[in-house]
Every structure is written in C-alpha cells, then in structure tokens.
Point group: C2
Chain length 368, copies 2
C-alpha cells in the first residue's frame, strides 16, 4: 500500500483536529505530520516549551528553527526529506495557497475526502466527561440567570432587576461571569426575547421582554481540554401567552421523545423527522413568508466535542446511522416572529456500548 504523509496545519485553539491528535493548544498555527509510526508537532520557539509539556504520549515535538526554519514550505520540505516521501494527504480545509506552494515545490497533495480523524466522532468516556464538565458550567450560568429573573419584577413589558431595566446584555454578562468562575470560557451566549428569539442565532440586545419567551443558549468551552458544552432553555418572566405555552409543551415533547431515539443503528434524518412530526401534530408548521422563516427550520441536533458543531448531524440530510460513542445535542425549536422562539436543548451521550446517557441536568419549566 502506498504510504502518504498526513499533514495538518492549524492552531490548537481553532483547529480541532490538531488539538485532538497532539493535545497541544496554541493561539498560533503550527504544523503536525504523521508518517508510519511517527507523529510530530513542529512548534515555534514561542510555543515549544508549553507544547512539549502538553503533547499527548507518542507525539514528538520539535522546534521549527531546528527543523527547516520558520517558513512553512521549508518545514514541509524537511518533513518530506526525513520521511523520504513526497506524497501528502491533507484535510479538506487545508489552506489552498500552501497546497499550491507544495505542488510547485514538487510534492503531491491530496485532500482527505472524509473527516481527517473519523474517530473524533466517537467519544471515549473521558471525552464525554470533558463535555460534561463544560456542561456543568453552562448549567451554573443558567442557574444564575434564573436566580436573577426570579428576583426581578415585571412592570408593563419590561423586567426590572436591582432598580434597572433588565437587558439581554446584562443577563448574558451575568451568565458568562458565572461560567468564567467555573474556569470555562463563554462563547456567544444567547439571551434573546421577542422577535429576536425568533432568529435562532440572534444573541439578543436591549431590554428583555416580560411575558414573552426568553431563549438562553449557553455553550461554554473548557480552556484546558478544549471540549464544549451546549445547553438551551426558554423561560417567560411573568405570564406566557396560551400559544407560547402550547409551543413550549410541543417542543418539550419533541425533545423528550427524540432523546429516546438516540440508539445505535438509528439514522440522524429519522430522529430529526420524528421531532418535525411531533411539532406538526401540535399544529406548528414550518415555512417562510415575507418576514422570513417560521416554524422549525434548523437541524434537531449536532455532535459536540472539540468543535461546538461537529459530526454527526441530526438533520434531514443525515444519512448515516449512529454507532455508539457520539455526543449529540437534541434541540427542537419553534420560531414565530409574532411571539418569539422556544428552544429546549439537552446533550446526550451514546456510550460505545450503546447506552444512552443525558449529560444535561438543568430543570425544565416555562414561567417564573
């Protein structure tokens, strides 16, 4: 069988593959290669000491100044010389400009058609524990928000806390501060009410609405392990409209039902469709009009690990079956600009043995 050098370039902080295989987290890009039994990270003088300490067992670390120099193509040339091989396989997201330079230097470069480390999709119990640790911080952030909302008062359409109008920005900062004190990093926490909550990726801004659903989507990352958590709850401060209560019940039913479908052999698309069916059973339909999309218009879930969105997907296009080892979100949602959004998201671990464990411990309730 022909031997290729498998080559990666990325920062430990932004490239999940390089962090997965090396265990090294850096703000700047570095090069990693794998050839036969050799796995080696090429680090700058600035990173070499920390990288050496953090590297996983079996991963060699070398300093670029002793390994071809500081330019990428010089390092790659040195790698080719040491391996006596000119054929490289790189991930699909490898930088095109560098691949072109490698070809110009006489190397062959092929993009890996599949994920670079397919085993990343299947988590060991230790990896699931790392996700769970981040999830605990998300839950602490949510608990802080709930505490603030409980201590708040409603006045007209506004919520008052400590004498001030409660805003998305303030509630988000409080959630995120709680996460930081759990030694996790918050990232893009959503606190959105009213029409903002009807846009699933709108982080929310301005005064939060009373008597209206507040979507809180919280996804912290461990700076130490790199693994993410992911949690969404939706609450109403004050009194929910009947349609909001109905939507909440439908979304909760869809979540609880589809969580039970997370089993080896189940197809992601089938699990997604089950959620759609339950929402439609409750007369919540999906479509679009001049105002934009409404209903349930995102995938039911996604894998969570060293990336916040990774394989597998639970979506209409997910044509592979679960095998065991996946950590996935289950997050049905309903969005209508007239009254806002409801999303309820749990994290589920399907163990390598096929046992399903819910990694989320947050309570479910609508009004407070």
């Amino acid at each position: 069988m022909k031997k290729f050098i498998r080559l990666l370039i990325g920062s430990g902080e932004n490239c999940a593959d390089i962090r997965y295989i090396t265990g090294i987290s850096t703000p700047d890009d570095f090069i990693f290669f794998e050839y036969r039994d050799r796995q080696c990270a090429v680090l700058s003088p600035l990173e070499i000491d920390r990288g050496r300490a953090a590297a996983k067992a079996g991963v060699e670390t070398v300093c670029d100044i002793d390994f071809g120099g500081r330019s990428r193509i010089a390092i790659i040339t040195r790698i080719a010389e040491e391996c006596r091989c000119k054929d490289f396989v790189v991930p699909a997201d490898f930088p095109f400009g560098l691949a072109e330079k490698m070809r110009a230097a006489g190397f062959s470069v092929t993009a890996e058609e599949n994920t670079f480390f397919p085993q990343r999709e299947f988590k060991t119990p230790a990896e699931a524990d790392a996700v769970t640790a981040a999830q605990r911080a998300a839950e602490a952030g949510l608990a802080r928000a709930v505490d603030i909302l409980r201590k708040s008062t409603v006045s007209g359409n506004f919520i008052h806390y400590n004498g001030n109008v409660l805003t998305s920005e303030f509630l988000r900062a409080e959630i995120d501060s709680e996460i930081l004190h759990h030694n996790m990093l918050p990232a893009g926490t959503i606190c959105a009410s009213g029409a903002q909550g009807a846009q699933p990726h709108n982080a929310g801004s301005g005064p939060l609405k009373a008597n209206s659903p507040i979507v809180m989507d919280i996804f912290p990352r461990s700076p130490e392990t790199g693994y993410w958590g992911d949690l969404t709850r939706t609450v109403v401060k004050g009194k929910a409209l009947p349609i909001v209560r109905k939507a909440y019940d439908a979304v909760l039913e869809a979540r609880e039902y589809t969580k039970k479908l997370i089993k080896p052999g189940m197809y992601g698309a089938a699990i997604h469709c089950a959620a759609e069916a339950i929402l439609e059973k409750h007369h919540f339909y999906t479509g679009s009009n001049e105002q934009g999309q409404f209903g349930f218009f995102h995938g039911l879930g996604h894998g969570v690990g060293l990336e916040i969105h990774e394989m597998p997907r639970l979506s209409p296009k997910a044509r592979t079956a679960l095998k065991g080892g996946e950590v996935v979100t289950v997050e049905p949602g309903l969005y209508y600009p007239e009254w806002g959004g409801i999303r309820l998201e749990d994290l589920v671990y399907l163990s390598p043995e096929g046992k399903t464990v819910c990694l989320t411990q947050a309570p479910d309730f609508l009004e407070l």
Copy 2:
C-alpha cells in the same frame, strides 16, 4: 484585463475577510463573491434574515435555497453561471478540498498571493474607534484586577483575597467578568506569575506568587463590531526583586522609545531592533538553554483589527514600511524562568495622515 470572480468562504465570527467586506457576523460558514460591481453574500435560511439586516451598503444578500441549493459546489456553479465566468481567485487560506472540487467541476482557481483585502491593514478613524472601544473594556478589566490586588494581603509567597488564596483562575475570571459587563468578549486572558509568566503564551494557573511579577495580557473583542483590543501590564504584589525592577524599567523604556518610532516610512524590523537594542543596553540578553528560551524572543508588535494578530508586524522579518492607518501593539517583554516575565503593551494608531495616537490609557507602575 481578465476578469475573475473573487470568492470567499468563512464564518463572520472566524473569518476576518468575510466580516470586513460584508459586515455580517455568523457562527457558520457562508459564501461571498465579488464580480465587477457586484458583491453578494449567500446565506443559509438560518442566517438570511439577520444577514440582510447587518449587510454593509452595496452588499447583496441571497438565500442559498434560491441560489443553487445547499451544497457549496452547487452555489459556486450558480455564481459562475450568473457571472458568465469560470475563473475564480480565492484567499490563500481557502479550503483546499473545495478548490479541488471546483477544479474537478471545470473552474479555474487561483490563490491570491497577497492579503485578500490589503486595505484591511489601514484603518479608518471609525475602525480605530472600534478598537479603542474594545481597549476601554480591557482597561476596565485591568482596573478590576488592580483593585483586587490592592485589597489583597501578602502572606509568605501567597496573596490572600477575601480569605482565599488568590489564583490565576480567579483573577482572570474577575477581569473577564468586568469585560463582559462592558459588552465585550474576553478571550484567553493571561494572568501568569513566576515561571509561568516567563512563557509568553501561558495563561497561568494555580496560586499567584507574591513579590513576583504577574503578567496580565487582556484582549477583548467587540461582538458587535468584531474589532479587538490588546493590553498588557505587569505588576508585583509586595516587593519586587532588584532584577525585576531593572527589567521593568528597561521594558518600559523600550516601549516608550519605540512608540515614538511609529511613523510613516519606518520599517517594522527597525522598530523591533530598536527595542532589542534598548533591552541589551540594560544587559538583558536573549538566547536559549536546556530550560528553553530567555530574554526577548517574540516580535515587538502586530497589527490589531478584525484579527487579534494581523498585518503589519513589528518583527525582525517585517520588511515593509508603515504607511499610515495601521493599528499596532508595542509590547516589548523580558522572560527569565528564574524570576518570571515582564511585558508592557500599548496600542498605537498611526492615522491615515501620519499622526500617532496611543489608544491605551492604562497607568504604568510595578509594585502595589
């Protein structure tokens, strides 16, 4: 002149180029193209409503389902049809796998050799204001840390605050919480003392050392504008060793001297070398031994904008001259595992008219 379609793919959050040109910030990747006078972002149904609202004047937004479908290659094929052009120019970091698919589909793909939007290096006053706003949050975070350190007491090698041993983790969480309440996002804040402070990228962990330099490097980002701030101060709680005081004075002199060199026509390498010369004048030498690197072994500074590290560099290899419009850090540092690290970092804006403005307003002192 031959016409090319300029093509980008990335998320607004992680791809500075696509955010710069479109003004759109998304967690997921989207496609942007530019052909003759047309600039167009192709967004998923999940992002189209927010994207349309956020798009810069002159940037068209279309929904992928109305524009070739959900697959990247289908969208790109549609772009080629609409432009009646099969020749694409992409940035060097464009995903290699997609470029290969484009070639297989009959398109020509060329990597841009320079930065994709060279004008990103030169900030308008409005962009400098956006950096300054993030910098104000960094300064507020620093002020919070200084307040905690002032209220702390020294006991042996430890620092006590509110009855607890003060740790890197706690101080970082307090800095970051302050940043969050200024509606900015903290990212990788460093609070490192002792030998950890001698590793420039070590974020710090465990108890902070009394009578020893504590490096605090704070770089928040505005979620709204995407622009970063960057600030470093180093302080000693208690009494600094004479060598630490000497190093602090040398680094401060190097920073203040080199800030004055930020002028149109000055070379980044020359400014860096001036800092080196000042540190050596004070008998602080750079090198490496079995413990690793010591002295001043990183670049003096880097551009700051929609990326925390961007062009131009102030480093030995920076062979281009400043022109006007750059925002750069000036951050000399000294690192010795025996006693730790000192880094003092200001941000400087060289206006398009060639006027130098220091964007940092934090005080300079060593002991507290």
